[in-house]
Symmetry: C2
Subunit: 91 residues, 2 copies
DNA sequence: CTACGGCATAGAGATTTGTCAATATGAAAA
DNA sequence: TTTTCATATTGACAAATCTCTATGCCGTAG
């Protein structure tokens, strides 16, 4: 069932969870390490790791490993592409 | 846990299914009745009805009943609002 | 009134998702 | 080396999702 919007559906799915949407919103202010993100939510560390994997796998967030830490940031290019698709629906 | 992005997450979830995303794409050309939409997919009528309910409940699509028919169209205002949120993530 | 056509709802079942506790990995500190 | 710290993975589970068949509802056409 290779659909026309397979990749975009996967990205929208990544944004369809309130926790992940709040994480993306946090990252607007710039790069953050996982432990800093975790402080803002009532979830366990493995649950955060699960969410970050979904966000990075679909290309909306980048992860940069620095020793034991991983710093996450928004992938502006892919976020813009998805925004453009959405903008095309309201014109 | 009334989140900040509760409504937006619900709208992104509506767009996170390939079939629903293709339906929204179809509606770019203008209003369509359910039976016309159904012709383009390998799903049953109840399944389409299920998807249309999700799209209308979250406010991204409008349904206009005309006798036995229901004509669906995009809700440009809400689609634009969601697009603006996404645009805010890539700036 | 009866029959039909378009759409919605109910119920069931298989799959996916989100969460946790427990554990593993891997780098840095002692 | 041993310990500690940050993150990832595994396995389990409940809840949500998507799909179907069967059926109900309601306009409209005979």
């Amino acid at each position: 069932m290779e659909s026309k919007f397979s990749e975009e559906a996967r990205q929208f799915k990544a944004l369809s969870d309130e926790t992940r949407l709040a994480i993306v919103d946090m990252l607007r202010s710039g790069e953050l390490c996982a432990c800093k993100i975790l402080e803002n939510f009532q979830i366990t560390q493995p649950t955060l790791s699960y969410h970050m994997k979904i966000l990075t796998d679909c290309g909306l967030v980048c992860g940069r490993r620095d020793g034991a830490w991983v710093h996450y940031s928004l992938n502006g290019e892919n976020l813009k592409a998805l925004g453009d698709l959405l903008a095309g629906f309201s014109r």
